[in-house]
Symmetry: C2
Subunit: 362 residues, 2 copies
């Protein structure tokens, strides 16, 4: 694809070129129907097949049992920050959150509207440069749930192991920025969720996978559209779902299956991040502020000697066809987001550019 460039944006992010081209091809005329999938009724045969395929693909890729529901909800991960305590906080109960970054803190803040919230582990005092050592903390018996953020997009950290499973305390993970990037045992979790716009689709839909029994906790006064049971009972079709976004998830999970599933994708993601961190660590020019054992394989953050050089780096990378490398506005620096759709070739191009940039400016 001569016209396509490498987009290292943290999300919305680049999607697989093969998927984009397929969606483009059938955009105005889905499977010969004479209208695009976006224009067809969500209750018609075409979309009924699409949403079933999206769910089936997700179940197959993550090996999800019938004990769990797979649903599509609007409002992004931020809406989940509210829905989780609204539905799952036990009466007069408390919940626990690990505060590992901007989004983890936002999730915790919302929960405080619905009951007591305990900050069970944090790395705030070291600027969120690490995941607090897992063996030093665990959920408390009696907690409504324990919430973690598996990958922290802003700080560039990621859990490489998870807190031990504790009976009666469901572990809930916001996996917005690393969903389907690696093999996962869903049975270790009560619920995982993810805004789609990084690894599995466009913005406008969140994937929620939850143990069905948890949906029974919801108090009677929670509105229809904010109850998990509404989505579970109606197959995410109580009202019109975001059909095109779900269609894109179906195509992207088709692509993931064709690639060989999550084990293969994980190996590619390991390679992509390893070569980047290797380059960063071997020079005195680039510097990664994240503690080595907590580094994210999705969002590789690093600094250059000065902010002026960072600005120059971002600008020259753009000219070279590499977009979105500017770090999050809260922390500055450089961030290379290398989700599933970023091919090894994109990372190689970035590495060549980094080497050349250091040679000229180092």
């Amino acid at each position: 694809m001569s016209t396509r460039i490498y987009n290292f944006s943290a999300g919305p992010a680049m999607l697989p070129t093969q998927v984009m081209e397929k969606a483009q091809e059938e955009f105005c005329n889905y499977h010969g129907v004479g209208n695009g999938i976006m224009e067809l009724s969500h209750r018609g045969p075409q979309f009924t097949e699409v949403i079933k395929r999206a769910e089936d693909n997700i179940r197959e890729l993550l090996n999800i049992s019938d004990e769990y529901a797979v649903i599509f909800v609007q409002g992004g991960a931020s809406m989940q920050f509210s829905m989780i305590p609204m539905n799952l906080m036990l009466p007069n109960g408390f919940s626990e959150y690990a505060d590992t970054g901007t989004w983890a803190a936002k999730a915790m803040k919302e929960a405080k509207l619905f009951g007591e919230v305990k900050n069970i582990a944090t790395s705030k005092e070291t600027n969120y440069d690490r995941i607090p050592v897992i063996r030093h903390w665990k959920p408390t018996q009696g907690s409504s749930y324990c919430h973690i953020t598996s990958n922290n997009t802003v700080a560039g950290t990621q859990y490489h192991s998870f807190p031990e499973k504790m009976a009666d305390v469901p572990l809930i993970a916001d996996m917005s920025s690393d969903i389907m990037s690696r093999v996962l045992d869903i049975n270790e979790f009560g619920m995982i969720y993810a805004g789609a716009q990084k690894n599995i689709g466009p913005s406008g839909v969140a994937l929620v996978i939850m143990r069905k029994d948890l949906a029974k906790r919801t108090p009677a006064n929670v509105p229809t559209m904010l109850r998990y049971s509404t989505y579970i009972d109606k197959g995410s079709m109580f009202n019109t779902p975001p059909t095109f976004a779900i269609y894109m998830i179906a195509l992207i999970t088709d692509w993931l299956k064709e690639k060989g599933g999550l084990k293969v994708i994980e190996e590619i993601n390991d390679m992509k991040s390893e070569v980047l961190y290797e380059l960063i660590d071997k020079t005195g020019f680039f510097h990664c502020p994240v503690e080595p054992g907590s580094r994210s394989k999705m969002n590789v953050v690093f600094r250059l000697p000065t902010e002026e050089l960072e600005a120059k780096f971002v600008k020259e990378a753009e000219i070279g066809g590499m977009l979105g490398l500017k770090g999050h506005r809260l922390v500055g620096g450089i961030r290379a987001s290398i989700y599933n759709a970023m091919p090894m070739k994109g990372v190689e191009q970035l590495i060549d550019f980094m080497n050349e940039f250091e040679r000229v400016n180092g």
Copy 2:
């Protein structure tokens, strides 16, 4: 467009062919950037321009003053059914709803979770075959707000005038199925809202236009993503918005402006519906169950002598390239949804088919 067909679905519904073709053309490479708009950061220059253009177009088309906010919210109109009472019900107050159909009743049901709800006018006892005569009812002084459903998609009814404006009682209208189909004085309303997937875009986004002062009513315990002020203060970008859906709204409102605005669209919509109702009324074969003064210009519902003939009608229409004519599952019959994007030619083709069907089966 030889491959495009006429889709009379109630929504998601057909979008203007010109818009679909433009979106297809730049799907993988937006304005030469090398990625699709769907893949680009919502904080980047491309989407920043898109969301501004969508808002500017809407303000221009509906002649909206600065006193009103224009925001994009996920969850469809159904989420608004909850957000409205959650944000706008006055402390220990009550609200009023006109029950004119399935969706109006759903909106009313949700409000009961947040306070007293009065059913101010209804046509339920006549199977929602009409809008209750406007001069027979008006909002009560002291009501938190008065909620109406301007067009009833299932029953095929529409308000052709609105209840008189009453100071202190904001009129709120669900305009999901007739937004931007006709000229409207926004100043008569405290708030209007619409799921996009009928007249102005794909599913996955709702347009909300509200008087800014109303957003100050929200109680402190309402979660961030459910507060109107979150969307107003952050330009609908507190978190990642449904970027592609908003992009489609920008394109469709561009198209509406090119067509000449809402006055021109209204004239076309008037013609489209008039020719259909004229045909229905002149025969004993077709029959419209809706009281003449309340008939919808968006959803033309009618019956045939038997259910068998109705099934045959739907099937043969499909073969003739006219999709989505089956009535809503709750009421049966035939429903021709003729939103803005349905051209006069589509209606003419339907009329030819109806005449021929009556000739053969009448």
